[in-house]
Symmetry: C2
Subunit: 406 residues, 2 copies
Amino acid sequence: MPPFDVPEGDPFGPHNLPYGVFSPPGSTRPAERRVGVRLGDHVLDAGGAAMALGSPYASLLAHPSLNPLLAAGRTAWSDVRRALTAWVTVPAHQEAIAPFLHPLSSVTLHLPFEVADYVDFYASEHHARNVGQIFRPDAADSLTPNWKHLPIGYHGRAGTVVVSDTDVVRPSGQRKAPADAAPVFGPSVRLDIEAEVGFVVGLPSRQGTPVALGDFRDHVFGLCLLNDWSARDIQAWEYVPLGPFLGKSFATSVSAWITPLDALEDARVAPPERTHELLPYLDDSQDEPGGYDLRISVALNGQVISEPPFSGMYWTAAQQLAHMTVNGASLRTGDLYASGTVSGPELSQRGSLLELTWNGRDPLELPDGKRAFLEDGDVVTLSGWAPGPDGVRVGLGEVRGRIVGG
Amino acid sequence: MPPFDVPEGDPFGPHNLPYGVFSPPGSTRPAERRVGVRLGDHVLDAGGAAMALGSPYASLLAHPSLNPLLAAGRTAWSDVRRALTAWVTVPAHQEAIAPFLHPLSSVTLHLPFEVADYVDFYASEHHARNVGQIFRPDAADSLTPNWKHLPIGYHGRAGTVVVSDTDVVRPSGQRKAPADAAPVFGPSVRLDIEAEVGFVVGLPSRQGTPVALGDFRDHVFGLCLLNDWSARDIQAWEYVPLGPFLGKSFATSVSAWITPLDALEDARVAPPERTHELLPYLDDSQDEPGGYDLRISVALNGQVISEPPFSGMYWTAAQQLAHMTVNGASLRTGDLYASGTVSGPELSQRGSLLELTWNGRDPLELPDGKRAFLEDGDVVTLSGWAPGPDGVRVGLGEVRGRIVGG
């Protein structure tokens, strides 16, 4: 048997060890929340274990948030991960660790870090081309002229980032069909998902000083699946000229588990070939592979509707970080930036209902009826994995959300 | 003599009492920062005074940030203001208060609150029309079709909001002239100001629950002048389709002094007549006046270049708050939202160099030469005032920033 009864090949085995924040059974006070590490279908109380073992990392782990660990930087991240790996794999530790393992089903999971700024990118060429064809059918090129020169992004609302399993209230707002004389107000009738990957910044940077491409792994701690819920009707009416606002700001769901980049070494891949020469601050042609081979699955009420491949994203997370800071904008611990909708070249790989149904023209046929956009009661689940060591999968934490009437 | 030696008619007399955070003389540790209230050319250590007087409000004031006071809500805001007014006007308190008054010139001022989310609106019709004419000269209407139906806004970067007197490093980034085949990279050559007013949220709201127009004063604590520095060349190349990003995110300067809304009762005015019927959640035609008569002055290297009037803003701060939350987006203590550039109908009332020089076509003639956009070493100062009781002005805290080479 593998260590601590995790079945062989479990995607949440000791090769993974994603971080979260949980309340132990029976605890309700926010101050009693603690950093947990997922091991199979259990959660290790990492701070409690560190204290019991007299570990020097207790000061980073015994907190109700990941922020102190995030702020500690790359050397500390590697050291802590090495220590955790030993605790859950070396038989001599088993007795000391056992009291700090809780069944996943017995704990409550929380937003694992304090979100500082939230930025959303637009890094999938397939997604950008689909959106361009749907919304600007007469344009000569489905991509805007800047798309291949810089990773387009914008700031979203950090205060409405919620953890998986938080219900999402259908937003109300203004919408206006082209033929209407004036906008009408009401609950969104074109509520959508966006299957994305979010990157979590640990080490901050100084205002006025850009972060270079090659410093990505010094600043970014890990990643998680992310659903950037979108009200397409609200967005379409509001977004010219200053971009999406209320069509996005009502909720963004993230997984309870942040996978450290150190667990994803075997998933690194080269991004797609660049069709345009890049300015030096974005040119990664001589760098180590900047892409990640993450396989995402989107389920609607339990039925898989799409399997977007992250490996095909045109812009990498390292390029996004370099771009986001090239003007001197500083990073803070807890900054979250997301990839934008992950869509592959195939119909079955599109990461939004907008694309899957071609703006509602081709509704999905589901066991409980047709779907152009989300209905109240719908449950959307993003899950995923990455190739790990020796052919074992590295599981990504799920992001689940249920739509409730507004 | 008026109380505590503040000259009669001083715009920072006891009728004003804006809040800030300062380090007392000789103090450098962040934990020693404290809430201060400006009185003439002095700062009252409000937490220290509250403790010395045995005030129940010490728990809201004895902090290195305004956040606890902000979170306390409207009744507490009024109660604390009443207490402070008594401390600085009732002669019996003078002896107890005196040790807590520091000359403004002897203290260091800090960012007065922890910025949660930062949103920037676009609420001046004159500004929006100028920008439309400059950037979309062929459009039939200089306003986009949505402009009169909703207050257009977008999220900015909260982590780069800085206090007045923080130097601003000239940002670098991509720019591309229409005739160029590809973008070039370098320091912005079209660095601009935006003279704005920022509103500071105190009381939070629940996700999923909109904040009604009439609840504005329960949630918003006060306002301050704000300079939303903008790199026009970076912005022009990046902003389609998702809005401004790096052209704005390098820095936003705010005053060190937050003026409570309670100090601005005499400045309330009706907004301009609405030319379009508004949806009910934005319809303020039956409400108390939602505008504020703030007179702003923009100086470049000491020379006044513009005097934008805030009273002419089409959308009010209450409408912006109602719009920002109508989709269920929650508010957090410390949320900051700004008006967008304040421009009046006259050339001398435009709040950006973009408008003042008509995108550089008509440079300003200054004592030290012509200016189309900002040069390194330039110092921009926003100042302002509002009508107060008995004809006395309510001074707004200055926002000053110097451009340094990138």
